[in-house]
């Protein structure tokens, strides 16, 4: 079943003369993990904003075509239903706190309060999320006083506590250190295992290779390439769109140039190990 259907979508900012998105067609399957990749300025963030309905609701400009979520155009959704259906986390940790709550616990509860969820239920759900993310040690702190990584985890908690089916992550870790990145991805992985539909804008290719089911490469507002992650990231031509390949893939491709043909091109560490093992056994080398 498809979660999101995008048909002939084009969009132009009010200040720009060119289209930022150009006649896009895309189907997002329910329960799958999609990585949006490509050079900066290619339209990734704009596409996320369109899917969540922020464009053209907040950010004017002309949108044509259709963005259907469960068959209904995102512009026709009721704002509170949409907030429960599609969660949205973006890169800046500092603007993703409500700015009116005094503790992390209350901050995470904010969305549920707005939805009118009963107080006892809110407490339980917030407590559960805090446990899931392991942020109990900051739950009584003022959100303003947290580090960037902590703020971002609180932002994430504040969204997933609303239990949306679809999650959009727009470069959620670009301002975080490796440790912060790892913690965010641990949570994203949990969400994937829970069967959520995930759209992730990400530059770190190793992370895409590790987690995504599908990769969509966007450039100049057009989809230049899309397909299963192991296909897109194993294709040398993908590099033409400003997307790097993982070191495992690069090694394999280099080997092929030396006529050392492995059975398939690996994209992750685990992948690489098993492919190598197989190749060595085939060559008669004992591991």
């Amino acid at each position: 079943m498809s979660a999101i259907e995008i048909r002939n979508l084009s969009y132009q900012y009010p200040t720009g003369s060119e289209e930022v998105l150009h006649n896009l067609n895309l189907t997002i399957e329910s329960g799958k993990f999609y990585a949006l990749a490509g050079v900066n300025g290619g339209g990734k963030t704009t596409l996320c904003n369109v899917i969540r309905g922020f464009i053209p609701h907040f950010f004017k400009g002309e949108r044509t075509g259709k963005v259907l979520i469960e068959g209904k155009d995102v512009q026709d959704w009721d704002p509170s239903d949409l907030a429960q259906k599609v969660g949205f986390v973006f890169q800046n940790p500092f603007t993703q706190i409500s700015g009116v709550k005094e503790t992390v616990f209350d901050e995470i509860a904010f969305g549920l309060e707005n939805l009118g969820v009963e107080v006892d239920v809110i407490r339980q759900r917030v407590q559960d999320i805090i446990g899931l993310l392991g942020i109990g040690y900051i739950q009584d702190k003022n959100p303003n006083e947290l580090s960037g990584g902590q703020k971002q985890r609180v932002a994430l908690a504040s969204i997933i506590v609303m239990e949306p089916d679809i999650l959009i992550f727009d470069e959620p870790t670009s301002q975080l250190d490796p440790q912060g990145t790892e913690e965010i991805f641990r949570v994203i992985d949990i969400m994937k295992k829970k069967g959520k539909t995930i759209i992730l804008v990400e530059h770190k290719i190793e992370l895409i290779a590790e987690y995504a089911d599908y990769v969509i490469v966007l450039q100049d507002g057009e989809i230049k390439k899309q397909g299963r992650t192991e296909e897109v990231l194993a294709d040398e031509a993908t590099q033409d769109f400003g997307l790097g390949l993982t070191q495992y893939t690069l090694l394999d491709l280099a080997m092929r140039k030396q006529h050392m043909h492995t059975e398939r091109i690996p994209i992750t560490e685990g992948d690489s190990v098993s492919v190598m093992k197989q190749w060595m056994e085939f060559q008669g080398v004992k591991a």
Binding site: Y13, T15, T46, K60, G61
Partner: protein
């Protein structure tokens, strides 16, 4: 009333707390630097310029409410701050904040309105005093034989005209520095688009 409500979009509403905080912090900076002016409505003016007179008025009003927590006499001047927001917003809609000279003229009108509202407040509520250094002007005028209304009125001319015109010039400079992409998201941001050639070629974000 319909127009009034239409101006209060979520983005406009979110400008209000920022405008208020700018007013407060600018007011504090003036004290730190010991500048003998108030300059505590710059936030109100910026908000009025990009989000219209009513959002500007609310920004001015809430600012005075917050100032009132620390200094309750400020509450009496809430109408002055609200009127400043309204005047700037109305003038902006008519294009009177598009270049420096027009903006200065707007500042002059704001000052005029401020003088007209602040004078009776000061005379009736505070017996002509304001509790600041500018009371010396009032005292000198009173000593020279002027009566209280004329003295306070003259003092307000000195204080308000410099203060309001300087404030709006700072506000104008800041709005000019805002990116087209940002302005295009504001209700009345289109008034200031393409004012600056350097900005014109800036890459529109993804």
């Amino acid at each position: 009333m319909k127009n009034f409500k239409k101006d209060f979009t979520l983005i406009s509403i979110l400008l209000i707390p920022i405008g208020v905080a700018v007013n407060v912090v600018a007011g504090e900076l003036v004290e730190i630097l010991k500048i003998p002016l108030f300059l505590n409505q710059i936030g109100t003016m910026i908000v009025a310029m990009v989000a219209g007179p009513w959002v500007g008025a609310v920004t001015g009003g809430v600012s005075k409410l917050i100032f009132g927590i620390f200094n309750p006499t400020q509450l009496a001047f809430m109408p002055v701050a609200m009127a400043s927001g309204i005047v700037v917003g109305l003038m902006a809609k008519k294009g009177f904040t598009k270049n420096a000279w027009k903006t200065a003229f707007t500042g002059f009108i704001v000052a005029l309105v401020a003088i007209l509202i602040a004078t009776p407040t000061t005379v009736i509520v505070f017996g002509g005093a304001s509790g600041t250094g500018s009371d010396t002007i009032t005292a000198v005028l009173l000593a020279s034989g002027k009566e209280i209304w004329a003295s306070v009125f003259t003092q307000k001319i000195f204080v308000e005209s410099i203060d309001k015109i300087l404030s709006i010039m700072v506000a104008y400079m800041i709005v000019r520095k805002m990116s087209d992409q940002y302005l295009s998201k504001q209700k009345y941001g289109h008034l200031y688009l393409n004012m600056n050639q350097n900005k014109h070629n800036r890459k529109i974000g993804a």
